[in-house]
Symmetry: C2
Subunit: 353 residues, 2 copies
């Protein structure tokens, strides 16, 4: 049984069709917790753009709820012109973050759902869309919860757990992916310590993971990324537990830059290395990690990432967004369909329905 | 032949006994190069305190020159009372950075030198002290240059060299330790690329190493510490070259936090790992790395190191200043007395005179 962690839901719909979206304003964390009320689709568009809401699942949910906000007051009285308007609102929201695959997925789902409703009553379609947006949120929360159930036994009483970036509640509807087993183990009464890599350049570990875990009453300590090796050597780390952006058909894992280094260090120190993902993140069409393109992000994130110049302006910076961890370094993959261990292509595909 | 790198000397004495100390104001780097003129011992004390001058050898030189500034105008006319004043000035300067072993060493050397001079002429002793302070500087520069000679062949044309922190010119009189082979290889006309880890929490790599190497015309790229593993995997790194604070009798290396992780990653990628040190850094009285105490520094360096809060105030931070790399992971130690490779206790001691 997982009890509710004592953190706000990252995003939810409040009230009926005349209600609003309430989301955690993440740009102000960890200094301040402010809940942002969104009463119109433009505010959602801005929230996605400004990274007030981030993390693929949370962005998808925001997009879906943004569709409802953009349509609920629409004056169209016939089905055909209303469906045109659905497309218009979805196209608009898609421009808020043009690389967010999960946003497109959610918008497509909303559009398809509207088209599938066998009704000429526009109000009925609007109410249906609201239910669908809430369903996307609830399904995500249930998926995270299932990851927690599948992985919580890995965190024993007294354990030290090292994590990287924020594959947390703040990136999803609730519970997170890598953090889900932590919330579940905590709810089960086990005491353990989480070590959160600060995760340069954008510091999601220091800013977000440390914040949400400490708020939930979980013992968490922040460290700079380059301190993980000596922490492992000290014996304080019993397992590494991270999320993933994508898992290739052979089990290679693409995740936030720094993950691969942790996996190498974990192996050198004989520490198990787990990856927690929604099973939907498994991408059997990508043969292996070599086929995953690595986005190079703007140098300014490294050079000026703390609001001031930390490196000479004329010196280039290396800033890959992700790295790829070979399946051979991954002890197990925790999914909403259960724990996959050892990680082999056969076992990965075997979990498919 | 090593030509002069095109960077200012970190610290030097300008003029005669009525001259002054000129040093690079390092707190303003990399944004601005300002040379700080020190005309009195109080300014030196402040410069050491404020980290305007940092790096063990550079601090020692600053201390020695500060002794001269504090004594040159002294009114004492007899040897005994002048020697009392020498002790007083040295004791004062020692309070500027109470853990700086090299500062104490330099101050002791200045005091012993004054006492050893067989003269009753106070002006003659003052001139002798100035010469001694310049000698400390020149010996340091020569030592760095010798490290460069011993190590420059390791950097081949087209090589990629990964370094950590700033064991550079800015930490010494000139040339640096880990950077000395780079300056030497550059002067020899070889083209190579240096990758400088930014080195959290205090960012010496991004702020200082990137600055001094780029100024000297060496191709340098900055990366966040957690990107080193994927850079190694990409094949871009041919050797790792770092400095050390202390090398134990068995060859274990204490250096800036993050060094140990790089050594583990280098071994996993079959990349040689070199440490450059003045032979005086070899501490045969310390049996091995386990005997080296690791200073835990203030949490605020991690939590608020960039002038703003990056992690919740109530979440603890892990902030060890150093880590220890076992000798088994060190390919070779480059010293002013030659290259020690492989690294064994016998070979380390064998280099002693």
């Amino acid at each position: 049984m997982i009890s509710e962690p004592s953190i706000p839901r990252t995003i939810e719909w409040v009230g009926g069709l005349d209600g609003h979206v309430l989301l955690v304003e993440q740009t102000l964390l960890p200094v301040e917790l402010v809940m942002l009320e969104c009463h119109d689709t433009g505010t959602i568009w801005q929230a996605i753009k400004r990274l007030a809401v981030r993390g693929a699942p949370a962005i998808g949910i925001a997009g879906a709820m943004g569709v409802v906000l953009g349509l609920r007051d629409d004056a169209a009285s016939d089905r055909a012109s209303f469906l045109d308007k659905v497309k218009e609102v979805c196209d608009y929201l898609a421009t808020s973050r043009p690389t967010a695959v999960n946003l497109f997925w959610a918008l497509d789902r909303m559009r398809a759902f509207a088209a599938s409703l066998d009704s000429d009553d526009v109000v009925e379609i609007k109410l249906g869309l609201l239910e669908e947006a809430k369903r996307i949120r609830d399904e995500d929360a249930a998926m995270c919860r299932a990851i927690g159930v599948a992985g919580e036994h890995l965190i024993e009483d007294g354990a030290g757990v090292l994590t990287h970036c924020n594959a947390g509640s703040l990136a999803t509807a609730e519970y997170g992916t890598a953090t889900a087993p932590m919330y579940a183990a905590h709810a089960a009464g086990r005491r353990f310590r989480v070590y959160a890599d600060e995760t340069r350049p954008l510091l999601q570990g220091a800013r977000l993971t440390a914040w949400e875990l400490s708020r939930a009453g979980i013992d968490v300590t922040v460290l700079c990324d380059n301190m993980a090796a000596s922490l492992m050597r000290s014996g304080a780390v019993d397992l590494v537990l991270v999320g993933a952006d994508r898992v290739a058909g052979n089990g290679d894992v693409a995740n936030k830059i720094g993950t691969y280094g942790l996996a190498v260090l974990a192996q050198a120190h004989d520490i198990p290395f787990y990856v927690a993902i929604p099973y939907s993140t498994f991408d059997r069409d990508t043969v292996d990690g070599a086929a995953i393109p690595i986005e190079q992000r703007d140098e300014s994130e490294v050079r000026g990432g703390f609001g001031r110049l930390i490196s000479p302006e004329d010196v280039p910076c290396y800033n890959p967004a992700f790295d790829v961890t070979p399946a051979a370094l991954v002890t197990g993959i925790i999914t909403d369909r259960g724990l996959i261990q050892p990680v082999t292509a056969d076992r990965l595909c075997g979990v498919l329905p």
